[in-house]
Symmetry: C2
Subunit: 330 residues, 2 copies
């Protein structure tokens, strides 16, 4: 169809970053990745993560560049590099200070989840028993995130908080990494109500390749994954889906333990895992890392998507969303 | 009755601390005061507040001493000084780290509210639209506060969170400054259900002298206040009530604005006040400050309390509660 090579964008990764992985991004033809810089990190710790990225941008300037706008992503594509877009999986970087939303946007943050598994100051996480919706501070934060162009991400939030965030936000929001609950009833996957509201509001879903979000887990086939994508496109509209692999390439199991427990408990929480399977689950054979991202396109074609739609899902939808979302409110 | 002078303890103050006020505490015969050191302050900021108190303890060692135990309070009484007991009106000093509960207890913190008006990481505040109860981290925090002997204070929390805190806590909790909602329907005052559960569990209510918590506000009479105390004693048991004046002596109005708004909103919240009455409300004529605390005893006598009960309300109940609460769990 088009003569241009496929645009590949991944809506979420948290890898143990290294030159090896950046080279694999290039081998996989990956033009942009939304990377997590904070889970439980507060403001100061988030600045330290940004400084680490600054060093990587300097050391590996032939491979990666900062991605703060759709234009940065287009430029990275021209230059054969990968644009790195900063995101936080929790609102901990702003602590209890609404003024830090603009400060962190100035520092390049482009996505922020309103809650991560637990109740936050802004919204409820998907592991709480009950979900009263967006808090008083949450309403203020949504308004401010809309104003500066920091995307609201509800991947780890609970149902009602997510529906309210879609409703309250004046700009489309994202669920950067999750799948439909109807396909695989994981706590992190999303109801049809949420997905429909997300699609109708112009938001984006990044389809997750994390085994706990996949039907049959590690044994999920590429075909099953892509057929799920086809049904999701029917539900939400093909313009609202992309990839959000949730890839944690090369991370040791201590990292998933920290993701789940942070410093909020003295007991041990297993999150989506269990005492028997406490670590990272093994990835499916067909998706081991960044080199395999481009190859998902053939899976989508085999599941019946036309070439234009394959291009949308593989990256064009995300690029369009970045264009609409990363700048100040019109 | 007893030959000893009346023991006077105030269950909450947040004054603009000065030598003048410490002298007034002595003139009022005040043996111990639970003072707020944090509203929105995080851990580092709370340490700065503690360092400020350390300087005051050094400068005014003839007037005030640190109060970390019931024994400290008894010693202060013998020495004719006022024991200062540290408390936080929010859980912001522990940020998102359960390990800071023990650290702050080591530094002298003896009370901590689980939430202040808004949703916190632990519980819901009384100004939120809905209250889903104690959060996942809140359950862990209650267990840890019980273990080390940091008193759970629910003065600014919402109804269900308060009832759940009473239920979940293995040790009695406190509502250091509030009155019955049935007497004056302020949002900060507490339902009979809460007060009954608090009394049955061996907890303490500090009766508030803050005008927004008083029937007829600034015009509330000492008689009306003390008759309310008599009805509250019938509801909860006289052993469960004390004074918690919520006195903000000498504070400028900028402080109440900060209490209400912290850094959580860019708009302006008036809390218990209003745009027309945004500042601190004037205190009733009969309770202007620390010098007037001791004189409340006569009001309780006039409302029909016997001398033994007057002594309990004026200070002995708080001292007994400190004895049971400030050490490690038995």
């Amino acid at each position: 169809m088009s003569e241009r090579p496929l645009l590949v964008i991944d809506g979420l990764q948290y890898a143990k970053w290294s030159e090896k992985i950046f080279r694999e991004m290039r081998e996989g033809g990956v033009t942009a990745v939304h990377v997590t810089i904070s889970y439980w990190e507060d403001y100061d710790e988030t600045l330290a993560r940004i400084a680490e990225w600054d060093r990587r941008f300097e050391s590996f300037s032939d491979l990666i560049v900062p991605g703060r706008s759709a234009a940065d992503v287009r430029r990275a594509r021209e230059q054969g590099r990968t644009a790195i877009i900063f995101g936080a999986q929790n609102c901990s970087p702003i602590e209890d200070d609404i003024g830090l939303i603009e400060v962190l946007h100035d520092l390049g943050l482009r996505f922020m989840q309103l809650s991560y598994n637990n109740q936050s100051l802004l919204a409820t996480g998907c592991y709480e028993r009950e979900d009263p919706g967006i808090t008083r501070m949450g309403r203020e934060a949504i308004r401010e995130m809309n104003r500066v162009g920091l995307v609201i991400d509800m991947s780890h939030s609970a149902e009602r908080s997510t529906l309210e965030a879609i409703e309250l936000s004046q700009r489309p929001i994202a669920i950067t990494h999750a799948n439909p609950h109807a396909w695989h009833a994981a706590r992190r996957n999303k109801s049809d109500d949420v997905l429909r509201a997300l699609g109708e509001s112009g938001g984006m879903l990044g389809l997750s390749l994390y085994p706990h979000h996949l039907k049959d887990g590690t044994d999920c086939t590429l075909r099953a994954f892509c057929e799920m994508a086809a049904r999701t496109a029917e539900l939400m509209g093909v313009e609202s889906i992309g990839i959000g692999s949730d890839l944690c390439q090369d991370q040791p199991d201590s990292v998933v333990e920290w993701m789940r427990n942070g410093t909020w408990t003295k007991a041990r929480d297993y999150g989506e895992g269990s005492a028997k399977q406490a670590g990272f689950p093994p990835q499916p054979a067909w998706f081991q890392g960044n080199r395999d991202l481009g190859a998902l396109a053939q899976g989508f074609r085999d599941a019946g998507f036309g070439e234009a739609d394959v291009r949308k899902i593989m990256g064009e939808n995300w690029l369009d969303f970045f264009e609409r979302s990363f700048g100040p409110a019109p």
